[in-house]
């Protein structure tokens, strides 16, 4: 597996872009894997009763699926020293109108850009934008990497 050479990075470079589909099944899978069984992530009735427009993705699911391709690009899971974000808008994930509940009904668009780099020390900061449609759903998303 190749490991990214930080000295070759330039501030402003787009290093990873991804379109990440989400389905109602994604939310159920994440609930099981994470232990976060809050019903706003699977029950339409409960979600609307507590004032949401409908079932929403776990913010932590968005955070997890966004960093996965960035870690793959870096090549070493141990290089990540800090990962932070703010949850700026909920991601609605409706049930598919027909067929399997694994049919995607929402998409996250992720772009990762080099925000800072010190090739001599071997550190970099990656700034990430994450949108669902036109809306930023994560904000101030930063990943600090070091080796």
């Amino acid at each position: 597996m190749s490991v990214t050479d930080f000295s070759q990075l330039t501030i402003g470079d787009t290093v990873v872009e991804a379109e990440i589909p989400l389905s109602r099944a994604s939310l159920v899978d994440y609930a099981g894997a994470s232990g976060d069984h809050n019903p706003i992530h699977w029950s339409e009735r409960f979600a609307t009763e507590v004032g949401l427009e409908g079932v929403i993705a776990h913010g932590m699911l968005s955070m997890a699926v966004v960093i996965a391709p960035i870690v793959e690009w870096i090549g070493d899971p141990g290089a990540i020293v800090d990962y932070r974000t703010r949850f700026s808008a909920p991601v609605l994930v409706p049930d598919a109108e027909s067929g399997t509940p694994a049919t995607p009904t929402a998409t996250l668009s992720m772009t990762a850009v080099v925000g800072a780099v010190d090739g001599a020390v071997g550190t970099a900061r990656i700034d990430v934008t994450v949108k669902s449609g036109d809306q930023d759903v994560l904000s101030r998303t930063q990943i600090r990497v070091s080796r």
């Binding site: 899978d29 932590m60 955070m63 960093i67 996965a68 070493d76 141990g78 020293v81 800090d82 703010r86």
Partner: protein, 149 residues
């Protein structure tokens, strides 16, 4: 009952360590599109220098949320879980979590304050290994809607 600001400065710990299994690492990786082989294949992980399969970056949230739950479910915290929305999250990572880790966690309630009509709560969960060495610190902000009074 409104959020209890007297809980600021208190701490809650897991009753027993969280034992990291290969199965839990693989299940979390599958659920979060983490496709690298070192999440599933011990040989791939050891080739990178790890003792066992490596957990995805945000795996620590499982342990942090178990520890935070001790605070949130404390009747004296006054937190209505149905009104909670997640504000922010940060992982400050000393080393990756690997299968076989036995992890302790302590959640510190760093801030409880009214903000607009809401209450904002900041917690910091320190996760340590069996050798009592730091692994990752998970900082979280939650907003309890309509509970600023």
């Amino acid at each position: 009952m409104p959020v209890n600001t007297d809980k600021q400065g208190t701490s809650y710990s897991l009753p027993r360590p969280y034992e990291v299994s290969r199965e839990a690492v693989a299940e979390f990786a599958l659920a979060t599109n983490a496709k690298a082989d070192y999440h599933f294949d011990t040989e791939a992980a050891t080739a990178l220098g790890y003792h066992d399969v490596v957990a995805p970056t945000t795996f620590a949230v499982i342990i942090a949320q178990k520890s935070e739950a001790a605070y949130i479910s404390d009747p004296e915290s006054g937190v209505d879980f149905s009104k909670v929305v997640h504000g922010s999250e940060q992982f400050s990572i000393t080393r990756p979590i690997v299968a076989g880790d036995s992890l302790d966690a302590t959640t510190h309630v760093d801030g409880v304050r009214a903000s607009g009509g809401n209450a904002m709560i900041t917690t910091r969960t320190e996760i340590t290994d069996a050798a009592e060495q730091p692994v990752v610190t998970v900082s979280s902000t939650i907003v309890v809607r309509g509970d600023g009074e």
